[in-house]
């Protein structure tokens, strides 16, 4: 079997699958909009925003981008490196807190 024919064979999904995922993305987007509409605050707001964000991103990558049917060697090569960004997030949280502390301690008081 030629490579193209093989790819075509492994990518035959019913249209219904895409419509269902599309529907779920609409529902999840509406939910995240409602978080703002109802003015939720604090950890509840941030938790829900992150939850809906991760669910939407997973649906897009897994189904629309066909990652669920790709070889594991590709999946891990693409998915694992971005998670290391979280280390960068951690570093910058420390850095921002330090900058904020410096500004409050040395600049705001003198104004």
């Amino acid at each position: 079997m030629s490579q193209v024919a093989r790819i075509e064979a492994q990518q035959h999904h019913p249209i219904k699958l895409y419509l269902v995922v599309w529907g779920w993305l609409f529902v999840l987007s509406t939910c995240s909009y409602l978080v703002d509409y109802f003015g939720l605050v604090g950890y509840l707001r941030w938790g829900l925003i992150l939850l809906f964000m991760v669910l939407k991103a997973s649906l897009i990558v897994a189904v629309f981008m066909h990652m669920a049917w790709e070889r594991l060697a590709l999946l891990y090569a693409i998915i694992v490196p971005p998670t290391l960004v979280l280390v960068f997030v951690g570093i910058m949280v420390f850095e921002s807190n330090y900058t904020l502390f410096s500004r409050l301690a040395f600049f705001v008081v003198g104004r």
Binding site: W22, W46, V85, E95
Partner: protein, 240 residues
Amino acid sequence: MVDLPRTDPGAGISRPAGWEGIVADWSSDQRAFKNVSWGKAMMWIFLLSDTFIFSCFLLSYMTVRMSTVEPWPNPSEVFALNIGGRHIPLILIAIMTFILISSSGTMAMAVNFGYRRDRLRTAILMLATALLGATFVGMQAFEWSKLIAEGVRPWGNPWGAAQFGSSFFMITGFHGTHVSIGVIFLIIMARKAWRGDFDRERRGFFTSRKGNYEVVEITGLYWHFVDLVWVFIFALFYLW
């Protein structure tokens, strides 16, 4: 071209499941991504690098927002619109989100019809995707003009921390550029599909490679990525 001897690139190889299979794929002198064509693998690697670019933008936004002593403007109010006499918060961004998600839906179906060798439906769905993408960029242009008219600049705004403007223009500008490039590529690929390039394996004007319907999927990967980035921008910049 000389056909170099190489290990079997595809489905014939039996591999253990899970991690052992991944190690087997990556070890020894061979192609790591066995049944994945180079075009698709390269698009994924490009998207990975683009992920890091947008990560850096969102990280710098997080850093300036966390470290500023000025109050951060409330995005819910900044992006509110008056529709029919009612004041609805963040409504413009919500509509843009739904438009971009719909364009992802039509793109996914275009890929599906491509693999069914239905060239007309593929082309029409790709054009629909491009149209929705262009609508998104149009609404973004409206949003930019509205904010600029209200006095938002990269170096200041009427409501608080100056960093709001610089983050906003940098992040949404870069994303809008990606959407615009995607629209151009979608139109080019839709024309190719319409003309039957992928059925007749007509060679491309730029790469001189034979056309096939996998190109639609690779274009789709880029388009879904643009939608994916918007998911993060929507959550972290507009809703946070």
